[in-house]
Amino acid sequence: MNRRKFLKQSSLSVAGLIMLQHFLASCKKDTAFEGSKYTGKVTIIGAGVAGLYAAYLLHKQGAEVEILEASDRHGGRIKSLKDYTDFTIDLGAEKIKGERSPWYDMVRAAGVNFVDQELGNLYYFNGTLKNETEALENTFYLELRALLESLNHYGGDDVSAEQWGIDGGLSENVSNLFNAFIGNEYGTNNARIGMDGLHEAKIKWTAGDKEFLLKDSDILSIIEERFAEILGKIKYNTPVVSIAYGGDNVNIGDAAGQQHKADKVIVTVPITVLKRNDILFVPSLGSAKTEAFQKIGMDYGMKIILRFDQRLWADNTRSIYGNGLVPEFIASGAGGRGTDNILTAYVNGANAETLALLGDEMIPEILSELDGILGDVTPHYVDHYIQDWGAEPYISGTCSYPLPGIDNARNIIAESIDQKVYFAGEATHTGGHFATVHGAMETGLRAVTEILGQ
């Protein structure tokens, strides 16, 4: 190669490299939706986790955010009981379900510890209390497990879960366990929950199968810490009674007669509020939406915190599944959370309604059930605290569940209207994550990405 050729090729190479550098720089992509700021005003109805998360994301994008909360507190169905025991009790959601969600990543970012002790459940059926190993030696229990595992492949009619059990030949001996694993877990009873919705939830679930319990914190504290800058934007004791979205703006009327103007509104209230038509939409939402509300259930539910003067169950017990009105007793201090001897009766649906009707007889009834399971526990009872979710006026239940005939109701509810009214909250989750904290957050994300045009 002669000198002229060398110089020519070298110059071309250098020019090429410079051009390549510019080309590559121009190819760089945004890591987030950086090109889609929103500077309008968005009013969010409800300061539950869906509303707070939506507000947080919008605030970060430059939007003006206002949150109208009907009650005197934030968190919705996330609530903590502090100073009752030597650890904080989650009165609402307490499990972190799945290891793949913004919620799980948010919890991890908070630097909290999870319970790492191996915990086990106890099952009371056939007149005896069994641990997992003992239960697995029982034919009825094995049949129940097999039935539950077949949910993935369910292809029958949209009957109730109870009917599914009957059709599957499930023994009466384990019907209470069956109700605890399905109906009570979804905030109701097997007799009320529909199979199509259950099956859909099972096959659409993509958050991972692990479950986590917080060891040294509570769910509300994590939310308050992350969304601290948003809490100041909440107007408490402001129940919304009307949303007029026919004009250029959205006019939101509260119970005190005040009007709140916004460019867009995100409605995150529980499905019970929508079912009852507590909010008047002008123009009306239409029959498709209002009929869809009725296809989703949300039942009465309670957590009854029982304190005992000694621990009457093994230290590594997570839950005790009974055979009476209370499907599940949660050993709330398990895994090193606390030393106080607490059992939380978790009961939903028809069972909760029955218990509530007992009034003052409710606690003796529950203790009587526990006597049958654990022996003589009543003498060790100290006191109790009741979180009655059904009695919370702006919530009226625990979590949403699919009624038989749900069809695509969640999709219909989730649809925004006129690019002004958006719906969020766990009941509007279309991907199987309803009745969860992460599901609620994800619907808040959906509303925000729609507003941002993403």
Binding site: T31, R100, Y104, D105, A109, N152, T206, H438, E442, Q454
Partner: protein, 264 residues
């Protein structure tokens, strides 16, 4: 979790790859004038739909400092045989197996996320010189004219992956997330034979591969943990640009490698 997913076993994948390899071998074995050729590639992918999956992840985890970069740059290579199809028109075909890998990584609060996809392809890449293909050319090298265009179809298989702290994401029924999908593509490019060292020929090539449709099955769900915002795992009109150096081994030194100055 999901059971309606098409969960293909490793064996099914291996079987398909084996069939492809077998077909390629048969083609090569029956072609006396085939030349071995391999290429190392740098790649760039353009797909707004795929970008949005990663952008949603970052947006929904605003508090994480280390963001995932949308799948942008990748690397890869291919191995194949150059076959002369028509001597007078100097039409060559490179039958090749290709590989590309695009990935993105982030580390937050002790959790390492690695996402991306691998792409295996079988291509029949036709090489030609515009003038030579019309009028024919007398002077050429063992791999055809020095400057050339390439055009050809590709059968591509996409294998998305999500790894958390070094382990594959656990998916359906405790199996790792490892789906794959197949689609057709069309590749167009150009190249220039730079020089030869003995029987080794160095060639620079640049190409764009257009996929009218490609799918990374359940990628949005695997990356984000949900797909409530309606992200698309299938993308239309995806283009992958690649550039790289090709090394070809020829059986004998012929024609213009000894006299490259005479070539156009």
């Amino acid at each position: 979790m999901k059971t309606t997913l098409q969960q293909h076993t490793k064996y099914a994948v291996l079987l398909r790859v084996s069939i492809v390899l077998l077909a390629a071998s048969m083609l090569c074995a029956n072609t006396a004038n085939a030349q071995l050729t391999g290429q190392a590639l740098g790649c760039y992918i353009q797909s707004n739909d795929l970008d949005r999956i990663v952008q949603t992840y970052n947006f929904s985890r605003e508090w994480q400092e280390d963001k995932l970069t949308p799948l942008t740059y990748g690397y890869g290579g291919n191995l194949g045989w150059n076959v002369m199809i028509h001597k007078a028109r100097q039409l060559h075909m490179v039958a090749q197996l290709g590989y590309m890998r695009f990935s993105s990584h982030s580390s937050n609060f002790g959790q390492e996320n690695l996402i991306g996809f691998q792409r295996f392809s079988l291509a029949a890449n036709f090489r030609f010189h515009p003038k030579a293909i019309v009028k024919g050319i007398q002077v050429s090298g063992p791999l055809g004219p020095r400057w050339f265009l390439t055009l050809g179809p590709e059968l591509a298989m996409y294998f998305p992956y999500v790894r958390v702290n070094g382990s594959a994401l656990v998916w359906d029924d405790n199996k790792p997330y490892a789906p794959h999908r197949t689609s057709m593509c069309l590749s167009f490019g150009t190249g220039y034979h730079l020089f030869n060292v003995g029987k080794l020929i160095f060639t620079f090539e640049i190409a764009a591969t257009w996929a009218p449709y490609m799918e990374l099955a359940d990628f949005a769900e695997a990356v984000n943990g949900h797909n409530v915002t309606g992200l698309r795992n299938d993308a239309k009109n995806v283009t992958i640009f690649n550039a790289g150096l090709r090394l070809s081994w020829v059986k004998s030194k012929l024609n213009w490698w000894s006299h490259p100055g005479k070539q156009k």
